[in-house]
């Protein structure tokens, strides 16, 4: 099972290494980790995708909570969250294959952001499945390079995960 955790942390140097270190030290698997500053410049948000069972997720959450720089953690329900990942895919393209690739790109509502004689670079955002599907289709042309950001996620509707702690999230 995959779980998405949304984690608010103090925007201090060293926090990322503490979080990442905790994962390796305790033998947890992270699928992806994306970080960026929030609307409040003193706080960053990490979106962490963890692979494991309920016990693992509970342990991850509890151990993360022990870090002084971690302000809040919420396990996101995929049905109630918007999840996105950005990927850049550089794929082989020649005069014969170019129009096929452009068509595929359009179907996926992706963008071509760079063109050279032998390659096209495609930008796509979406959930993991969508990106996987595009990569799968592009494989036949020869993928040169893939760069992915890891998942970011936000809750749907007017719910927010903010600095002030409320009982329900504990």
């Amino acid at each position: 099972m995959k779980y998405t955790l949304s984690v608010l942390v103090e925007n201090h140097p060293g926090v990322l290494s503490r979080v990442a270190g905790l994962f390796s030290r305790r033998g947890f698997n992270i699928d992806s980790l994306a970080v960026g500053v929030t609307e409040d410049p003193t706080i960053s948000r990490m979106t962490i995708v963890v692979n494991g069972d309920d016990y693992i997720v509970e342990q991850v959450t509890k151990q993360l909570n022990k870090l002084i720089d971690v302000i809040k953690i919420k396990k996101l329900n995929p049905k109630e969250a918007v999840e996105r990942e950005l990927a850049l895919i550089k794929v082989n393209a020649n005069s014969q294959t170019r129009s096929d690739i452009i068509q595929i790109t359009e179907i996926f509502r992706a963008n071509i952001v760079d063109v050279s004689k032998e390659t096209l670079t495609i930008e796509i955002s979406g959930d993991e499945d969508k990106i996987e599907a595009l990569i799968e289709l592009l494989k036949q042309y020869g993928i040169r390079e893939v760069v992915r950001t890891g998942l970011i996620a936000i809750e749907r509707g007017n719910k927010v995960i903010s600095k002030s702690k409320s009982e329900e999230d504990e």
């Binding site: 290494s17 342990q59 509890k62 909570n65 022990k66 870090l67 002084i68 702690k165």
Partner: protein
């Protein structure tokens, strides 16, 4: 607001936190701080290696309940603290460790005596700081004391570059500390407490497993009220020894692979296990399997401990003292004490002409009647001490339970004596452990710390030797301590009185001599290498 250097401000904050004593060794990267210390009335104890500084701060913290403070210079000074910091982390001891760091502009360049000590200690500090902005020093130090001494306690490290120490700041102590990500929860959830009370009342064979958390939270009295009302037998982890007097009629002893038979038996027969302030690590459980039909209540200040090693039916996050007093308010009285039978089976120790370690420890118990603070090292002698000493009060049995650090005992005893000078402090050690930090004899001499050291000399790394005897069919490698010094001459070199005990006839007399001696004293007990951990 007064203008002063960061170094001075650091000393001012220490004063305002009530720090009376610091253990450490200076160096070029921390000299401004030391220079500022010169003008204060905080006592500084010069140790002979930094590892001892942390252990001494630890002994001090564990006997006083205050935060222990130690200081080291950058690089090797800082890395020498590491074992001590990890030891304090595993046993939840509140420590603030201050290290000097190279000039901020040189950090990351591998210059002379530079080491990334915050990176190195991140896994086993509760939190740590590298101070880059001089203006933040006061807040950071205040936070460090707050974090170290609240919630589940533990070590905090602060690394201060030398140029930062020398900068001038406006000094003002903030009134409040607010750390958004750190809000320890002390009160147990009322519903869970209600469930716990019901579970205890409806159980047939409940057992309390008491851990170091009971001592740390000062919950011994509440624990006794609970068990006496409900007639519950108590077993303890190594860290929990002393949480209830060891002569209490309901106390069955320590559990685990090195535990007492009665305690393990009670654990196996229980239908309800009430774990308080313990993590139930592998060594504590030994080969006892927690079965599905045993219910578990787990009370701990650290939510991450609950459900980590054993599955819990009723988790209660909170301070043991608070939770237990809530439980006690609601709990009824019970009539029968189910574990008397187990207690009656208590093993009688062999009594022959030979001088056994348990004879010595029992004689010490008798002579002092439990009016002492005991520290131990790690090995067979630690287990002998855990099984045979009379421990009367919580916080008077001090040992490295979590990390099992050899070399802990003597420095911890020094710290304990500084913390509670009115108490007799006795360090129980082995010849292997003692030699890991024996340079602290110099600290004992210099500061005239009147501790007693009881050294069980079996010329072996006994615990490992015993393991080799059992598991490696006697293929002994690297466990014979040939080349041990003559400990009598050694202590003489440090100007410390000593005596060697070799026979049972001299036992009473030797303990009397040790007890009546005013200054520091070393009693070497010559022990057979084949003396088992559990007779």
């Amino acid at each position: 607001m007064a203008k002063m250097t960061v170094a001075r401000a650091m000393v001012e904050v220490l004063k305002s936190e009530g720090v009376e004593i610091i253990f450490g060794i200076p160096g070029a990267a921390i000299y401004p701080f030391y220079d500022a210390l010169y003008d204060s009335n905080i006592k500084h104890v010069l140790v002979r290696t930094e590892q001892a500084a942390v252990h001494e701060a630890s002994g001090y913290a564990r006997t006083t309940g205050k935060v222990g403070v130690c200081v080291a210079t950058s690089g090797p000074g800082a890395t020498n603290l590491i074992t001590g910091i990890a030891t304090a982390y595993m046993d939840s001891v509140p420590i603030v460790a201050i290290t000097g760091q190279v000039n901020s502009s040189l950090i990351g360049k591998d210059v002379f005596q530079e080491v990334d000590i915050t990176g190195a200690t991140a896994p086993f500090t509760k939190h740590n700081y590298l101070v880059k902005d001089p203006k933040k020093i006061v807040r950071i130090l205040k936070e460090a004391f707050y974090i170290a001494s609240t919630g589940r306690r533990g070590p905090v490290l602060i690394d201060v570059p030398i140029d930062v120490q020398m900068q001038e700041i406006e000094f003002e102590i903030p009134k409040e500390i607010d750390i958004p990500g750190y809000k320890p929860k002390e009160k147990g959830h009322p519903l869970q407490i209600k469930r716990a009370v019901e579970a205890i009342e409806s159980s047939k064979r409940p057992v309390v497993c008491s851990g170091g958390g009971v001592i740390a939270s000062g919950a011994s009295q509440e624990l006794q009220i609970l068990i006496e009302k409900q007639k519950i037998p108590v077993i303890s982890t190594l860290m929990g020894i002393g949480s209830i007097p060891t002569d209490h009629p309901y106390y069955l002893g320590m559990i685990g692979s090195h535990g007492q038979k009665e305690a393990n038996l009670a654990l196996r027969q229980a239908d309800l296990l009430i774990v308080i302030g313990a993590r139930l690590a592998d060594r504590a459980l030994g080969d006892t399997k927690i079965t599905e039909d045993m219910k578990i209540i787990h009370i701990d200040i650290d939510p991450a401990e609950i459900g980590k090693n054993v599955d819990t039916n009723i988790p209660i996050v909170g301070d043991a003292k608070q939770v237990l007093s809530e439980v006690n308010k609601r709990i009824s009285e019970r009539k029968d004490f189910w574990a008397y039978e187990i207690k009656a089976q208590k093993k009688v120790l062999p009594d022959d002409d030979k001088l056994h370690p348990y004879d010595v420890l029992r004689e010490i118990s008798r002579a002092y009647n439990g009016d002492y603070i005991i520290t131990t090292d790690v090995g067979q002698h630690q287990i002998w001490a855990a099984h045979n000493l009379y421990i009367k009060e919580p916080g008077t049995f001090i040992t490295s339970g979590g990390l099992g650090t050899m070399g802990y005992g003597v420095p911890a005893a020094i710290g304990a004596k500084f913390g509670r000078p009115e108490k007799e402090v006795i360090s129980i050690t082995g010849d292997g452990s003692f030699q890991m930090l024996l340079q602290e004899l110099a600290t004992i001499k210099r500061e005239q710390v009147p501790i007693k050291i009881v050294l069980f000399n079996n010329t072996r790394l006994g615990m490992v030797y015993e393991l080799q005897k059992k598991r490696c069919t006697g293929r002994f490698i690297a466990t014979c301590l040939d080349g041990n010094p003559d400990f009598m001459i050694l202590s003489k070199a440090y100007g410390i009185e000593s005596m060697r005990l070799e026979s049972k006839e001299k036992l009473k007399e030797a303990i009397e001599i040790m007890k009546s001696h005013k200054g520091p004293f070393l009693l070497e007990v010559v022990t057979s290498p084949d003396e088992p951990t559990i007779p």
